[in-house]
């Protein structure tokens, strides 16, 4: 896999997850106690032997930069290749923001040209999965197709807004997995093959097509460029089915449900079948004091539990004080639930303190408390 490079397109703040992404990119969303979404894409690439990864950043890239550092946790702090952080920048031609994936690729065309891998794996940030790309690359080479797209038939809908639906892409396939047509943003899809925004193609071809597509006023690789060129029979496109656990994090509810999914043993085994790397924080192991109660929960290092925790995901350094109850909730790093407080169906962002009372949301509408808030 030395001949494959990766590019991750991190989406900007998203209106559908306003409370959670107001201060961070979707890729930087904290998930499952100690990870960020990008860890899954990065780890999949690294576990497949990819040694050159570019991360296209958006305007609010601070927390993502902080997380990735020099890339040493992913073994990407190497002399040759390694991790390349590609934030938007201003020049005579660039305006300082990216207007779609094609524009982002165009701005970083020099990086694409300079890389020396034959193939490029281009991916978005909404789909969470854990895979080894070796088989996909092998099939891609054998098939001789120009482009291979990863898809899943396991997409689960969790009340997505129309603006997000418009971003969904389904593939119409023949029985040999050749893509016959794209279904862009259907309200009710005709095909079950949900496209995971993972695109494999020759690097030189991508460089060539980006220029052409932009000249024709296109914005997005997956939704504009590939469908049009397929229609014009300029490209052959194939599908590759990913059979493992997949979750699209695209709304507050899907974020909540994704975390809750991990309380199931089988799903956890599936998503963590290959190691997932993340930034190390050197926290002390979690501590349960005498009288603490916990059940059906994921708890990260650095937590101190004195009260009760049920069906919840606790991130690093969370404190649940004596008499406090945390139920069906996602509690991010360094948050604190003080004596006697009860929370249920809530998402507490980083460093939230709940000092008194009850905070009860509904399973289908979890309450979100923003970063650094004290209630």
């Amino acid at each position: 896999m030395k001949d494959v490079m990766g590019i991750i397109y991190t989406s900007k703040d998203d209106i559908n997850m306003r409370e959670l992404t107001s201060s961070r990119a979707v890729s930087a969303l904290p998930v499952i106690g100690r990870y960020r979404i990008i860890d899954f894409q990065l780890s999949s690439l690294v576990n497949s032997g990819v040694r050159n990864v570019g991360v296209i950043m958006q305007k609010n890239y601070h927390s993502l930069m902080d997380h990735l550092g020099a890339g040493k946790e992913w073994d990407l702090h190497t002399r040759n290749d390694g991790l390349f952080i590609l934030p938007p920048f201003q020049t005579r031609e660039n305006v300082g923001t990216y207007d779609g994936t094609l524009d982002a690729l165009k701005s970083n065309i020099a990086y694409l040209r300079r890389s020396n891998q034959d193939l490029v794996l281009l991916m978005g940030s909404y789909s969470v999965f854990n895979t080894n790309f070796e088989d996909m690359v092998k099939k891609h080479k054998e098939s001789g197709a120009d482009v291979t797209l990863m898809y899943t038939t396991r997409y689960r809908d969790s009340r997505v807004s129309p603006s997000m639906l418009a971003r969904h892409t389904y593939l119409k396939l023949d029985d040999r997995e050749n893509v016959l047509d794209f279904e862009i943003g259907p309200n009710i899809p005709e095909n079950p093959n949900f496209c995971m925004d993972v695109i494999l193609m020759r690097r030189s071809m991508l460089v060539h097509l980006v220029d052409q597509a932009l000249a024709h006023g296109m914005k997005d690789v997956l939704r504009d460029m590939l469908p049009q060129y397929l229609k014009q029979k300029l490209l052959t496109v194939r599908g590759y089915e990913y059979k493992g656990y997949h979750r699209r994090v695209e709304s507050v509810l899907s974020y909540f449900e994704f975390n809750m999914d991990m309380l199931h043993y089988d799903i956890r085994q599936e998503l963590f079948a290959n190691p997932v790397y993340t930034k190390v924080r050197d926290e002390v192991p979690a501590k349960y004091v005498e009288g603490a109660r916990a059940s059906n929960s994921l708890v990260a290092d650095g937590c101190i539990i004195e009260g009760t925790v049920e069906n919840s995901v606790l991130f690093r350094g969370v404190r649940v004080r004596a008499g406090a109850v945390v139920r069906n909730s996602v509690v991010m790093q360094e948050s604190e639930i003080q004596e006697g407080v009860e929370v249920e169906n809530v998402i507490l962002d980083k460093a939230v303190t709940i000092r008194s009372g009850k905070l009860i949301g509904q399973k289908a509408y979890p309450i979100v408390i923003g970063k650094n808030m004290t209630l």
């Binding site: 499952i32 043993y265 963590f272 050197d282 002390v284 708890v299 290092d301």
Partner: protein
């Protein structure tokens, strides 16, 4: 190479024979401690936090796991262009070449390593103790005292003085007498095995000691007493915080239990003095619906379905439904199967305690030890104070049939 004012030499070659089966296949400094650490994380983190950025680790006994663990030194920020951590096994020099014959000989054999950095001071450490210490403060005291050597000292209970180097000091803290592991101690001021030496002075003594064929080439037995006899200025440096020798099964168990007190006897939560460790790369731990956890430490990768109280679980430990773990230390990757009971025990790495096994007893009974990679067949009983290794378990099962 850039000159360094002070470098550290960490003696990690000892077998730790008092830890029995636990150190059969790994060096004592590599023994797991406190849920996610290994003993060597403490001196290495202390070095890193004290700003000492050249650390030579002298290895000899079963070094493979230790070498792998230290790696490039990245977890302790010791993967540096100018400095870092270096594993120093004995090596062949010209026609000679031999094992390290003692602590002083180990340093003697690495004089050329030390000289590369042209240090003014050398800090000698051991990989046997759990403590947090600012070596820089000790070094500063050493410099202020214009001493030839400074030894970190603490009071220990009288009944264990025979395990330590014991010293007498005058009012100013100058060491007047030093006895290594005395049968009858005159004081309970014990050496912590942390020394600062003026390098030029130490080098002189190391060479003289090497020339002395009768010497056992040991710091406590030879170098320190010789320096006192020569009226060199040796100072004691009092250290009163938590410090524990984890050289025996019981003390290792007890030090783990110290972490469970509320507030803990030994505080790992100080953000300005973090203890670093190599990360196991596992998801957060999971507590099942049927589980009970109380007064315990649990770390990443654990899956708990049974009842765990007053215990320390290391990375990736699995406690199945109906299993009971009390007053115990379960090291990385071990599995406690259904309905097994583990009390007052240390379970080594990657061990399996089979269904319905009964390990150890409650009360004040002796600590039972299941060695690493041991697979206990279902229903196996381990008495308090017993040590069971992989071969024992197999033999027992065969005889049962």
């Amino acid at each position: 190479m850039l000159k360094k004012s002070c470098i550290a030499m960490l003696l990690a070659g000892g077998q730790g024979s008092r830890l029995g089966l636990l150190t059969k296949t790994l060096a004592k400094p590599a023994v797991p401690f406190g849920g996610k650490y290994r003993i060597i994380d403490f001196p290495l983190s202390n070095c890193s936090n004290s700003g000492i950025d050249v650390v030579g680790v002298l290895t000899q006994y079963q070094p493979l796991e230790l070498n792998r663990y230290i790696g490039s030194g990245q977890p302790w920020d010791l993967d540096l262009t100018n400095g870092g951590v270096f594993v120093l096994p004995p090596y062949v020099k010209g026609k000679s070449g031999e094992w390290y014959r003692g602590t002083a000989n180990a340093i003697y054999q690495n004089i050329s390593f030390i000289e590369q950095y042209d240090p003014d001071y050398v800090l000698i450490l051991s990989g046997d103790h759990i403590y947090k210490m600012d070596y820089n403060k000790m070094l500063q005291t050493h410099i202020d005292n214009k001493a030839a050597a400074t030894i970190a000292v603490r009071l220990v209970p009288w009944e264990i003085t025979h395990q330590f180097g014991i010293m007498a000091t005058d009012k100013a803290g100058r060491i007047t007498e030093f006895e290594e592991k005395p049968a009858k101690a005159k004081s309970n001021r014990a050496s912590m095995g942390v020394y600062v030496f003026n390098w030029q002075v130490l080098k002189q003594y190391l060479m003289e000691d090497e020339a002395d064929k009768k010497s056992s080439n040991d710091f406590g037995k030879n170098i320190i007493p010789k320096m006192i006899a020569d009226k060199q200025k040796l100072m004691a440096y009092d250290f009163e915080d938590y410090w524990k020798d984890v050289g025996t099964i019981y003390s290792l168990w007890e030090a783990n239990m110290d972490l469970l007190m509320d507030p803990p006897l030994f505080n790992l939560y100080d953000k300005r003095w973090r203890i670093y460790a190599r990360n196991p790369i596992q998801p957060p731990h999971f507590i099942g619906s049927s589980a009970q956890v109380s007064a315990c430490m649990v770390t990443e990768g654990c899956e708990v379905y049974g009842a765990v109280s007053h215990s320390v679980l290391f990375a990736g430990v699995k406690v199945e439904e109906g299993a009971v773990v009390v007053d115990s230390v379960v090291m990385p990757g071990s599995v406690i199967k259904k309905n097994a009971v583990v009390r007052r025990s240390i379970v080594g790495e990657r061990a399996v305690v089979g269904e319905n096994c009964d390990v150890g007893e409650g009360g004040q009974s002796e600590i039972a030890l299941i060695a690493s990679d041991t697979v206990l067949p279902a229903g196996f009983k381990v008495r308090p104070g017993a040590q069971v290794g992989p071969e024992d378990a197999v033999a027992k099962e065969a005889s049962d049939k």
